[in-house]
Point group: C2
Chain length 359, copies 2
């Protein structure tokens, strides 16, 4: 499946920060056919560093999509049955408007003058995209990690626009430990003199800081057990362990595909996201109408199961239709991306029953 | 109890790297009286960023020692009964020779020309100190984290020189996750242009890099639960969470008391330490004669209990006298420093029975 990114432009979007961004681009891809009733559309929501390219082989880069093992003919999100839409988030750096985009008022990149964005803003822009595509009600919204946060926000903000939600390895709000790891990444970037208060476009990017930030991220995405299995204490050479060489490589690789200012904006959006809004999660779910499939993984210590269970309890307290499954895996937070056999089975069954129910 | 650091100098020490360091200084402190038989001496071993000032109030700085809640009259290491010795490790920056020390051959600080040091080298230098103090056999050696590694190394290298060992929250070898977190810290330091290949003495130190490294460290020393308890999602002001402000403060504070090159050398020593030496841990413990009290903490995810249990099983396989206790605590790895009531009780009883047995 060869895929190609599309861009749609909107005149403007109102942001939670009280400002307006105009115009605003959204990069997106679709897989599978939309049926005549427009009742088989599923929106997948990417995690922190993901993009619109969720499945297939990108026409230009040749890269495989980040959830290609979940999206395709016969897969969890079966493109023989469903029309899958994936868009890059607001504040990102992969085609949707973000700090790297040109500010029409100045003719220069926004950099740190880009307005603060929230998970709510990201979802609002996704809703605009879905409206533009002429889809009144999505069969489902689903994503892992930050994608799960967006799925929950969809259920709360647009209860009539989704039939179901599948938040995976996510949370209704970051714990201080999650905030802390993000803050380390941000400080690493801002400590790099090449960051230059965000004004590095056209110059050398803060590659060293961004690379350190990504190294921290990778440790938190894996588990103690999966690192022992993958690396053990094997040496690459006399002076470095394999795990060190791997992390350095992944860190430096990240610099080529991600913008440091987007790192700052998106992690802040995740950290400030709090569905409870200072009240109870149960109250937040008051108007929710969707069915839910909530998934977490045993070895995920970054988004531990207790965070998914908090969501499940609050939904059940509102008498919502919610299935919860904690899947066994040693892959840590990465499990939703790499260890998908059981996850795909659950998603396939849940979507089929949701589709039947709607029909 | 007012304390004062003492320095003893040795002509030279042979290092595992095959080089000789000459001369070499050791900073140490002692608490409580050495008895006439010299049979009541205990060596406490500090963790990564600790120093010789383990207890009491330092005469010059007014600072309280890092294990003051464990060492003193009536405490776990009861200075009414025992003579406690604490020394700064080789490669450190708090009085014992390290990268910040002057290389007599050049008249300049060693910086990165300082030879690689190992946990074995650190322990060899401690043995020289104990010999110099005229103590033939220590009643016990004890420490947490890197201190536990040293305690295990003492038991293996000098079986006749210790009656007991109390390794706390430690391991016989770092897991790839532990190595990975250390590597992130090292990369953060080396990414700071002020590091300048280690040649920053007399100039601005790599404060930003060292501060980021310390922030990562602090997250790993706490637990998810203790961070939720201490910070929750409370804001310090509109733009930062309390946990962010705390980490930044602890990071910047660390810069004033720790040398970045020592950070590199000591974390490398920890990462390369492997008591199994490519064979089995049981084989490593073949000649061990000491009694053991091994302690770990339920919420310590940096040095998880399974690592202490690996040590316990190997010791039992050699028919060693070993007591093991996993203490309940929500404080994570920090527990051995802050949550000491039960730990002190265990240590007190273990030391008393060891002392009785020897007498």
């Amino acid at each position: 499946m060869i895929t190609e990114k599309q861009i749609v432009q909107f005149d403007s979007i109102s942001l939670d920060a009280g400002t307006t961004l105009a115009p605003v681009d959204v990069a997106y891809e679709t897989y599978g056919e939309l049926n005549a009733a427009k009742s088989n559309a599923i929106l997948v929501l990417h995690a922190f560093s993901g993009d619109a390219h969720a499945a297939g082989i990108d026409k230009d880069s040749g890269n495989t999509g980040w959830w290609d093992n979940m999206i395709g003919p016969g897969k969890g999100f079966d493109t023989d049955k469903y029309h899958v839409i994936s868009s890059n988030v607001l504040g990102g750096c992969r085609g949707t408007t973000g700090p790297i985009s040109i500010n029409p008022a100045t003719g220069c990149p926004f950099a740190m003058s880009f307005p603060a964005v929230t998970i709510q803003d990201m979802v609002r822009l996704q809703k605009m995209l879905i409206d533009r595509l002429g889809i009144k009600k999505l069969l489902s919204v689903s994503g892992g990690s930050m994608g799960a946060m967006q799925a929950l926000q969809w259920a709360v903000a647009y209860p009539d626009a989704i039939a179901s939600a599948i938040p995976i390895a996510g949370t209704a709000r970051h714990s201080p430990q999650q905030i802390a790891f993000n803050e380390v990444g941000r400080q690493a970037i801002m400590a790099d003199p090449d960051w230059n208060e965000g004004n590095y476009y056209g110059h050398r990017p803060p590659a060293r800081g961004l690379s350190v930030a990504r190294m921290v991220g990778h440790i938190t995405y894996m588990s103690d057990a999966s690192m022992r299995e993958k690396f053990g204490r094997r040496l690459r050479d006399q002076n470095q362990f394999e795990v060190e060489s791997y992390l350095r490589y992944r860190g430096s690789q990240f610099v080529d595909r991600f913008d440091a200012n987007s790192y700052l904006y998106i992690t802040k959006a995740m950290d400030y996201f709090d569905l409870t809004n200072g009240h109870s999660l149960s109250a937040a779910f008051e108007g929710v109408k969707a069915r839910f499939l909530v998934i977490s993984f045993t070895s995920d210590w970054l988004y531990p199961s207790y965070q998914s269970l908090e969501v499940v309890r609050a939904l059940r307290g509102r008498n919502c239709d919610v299935a919860y499954c904690e899947l066994p895996s040693s892959y840590g937070h990465d499990a939703f991306l790499v260890n998908v056999t059981e996850q795909a089975e659950l998603v396939r069954g849940f979507l089929a029953s949701t589709f039947r129910e709607r029909a």
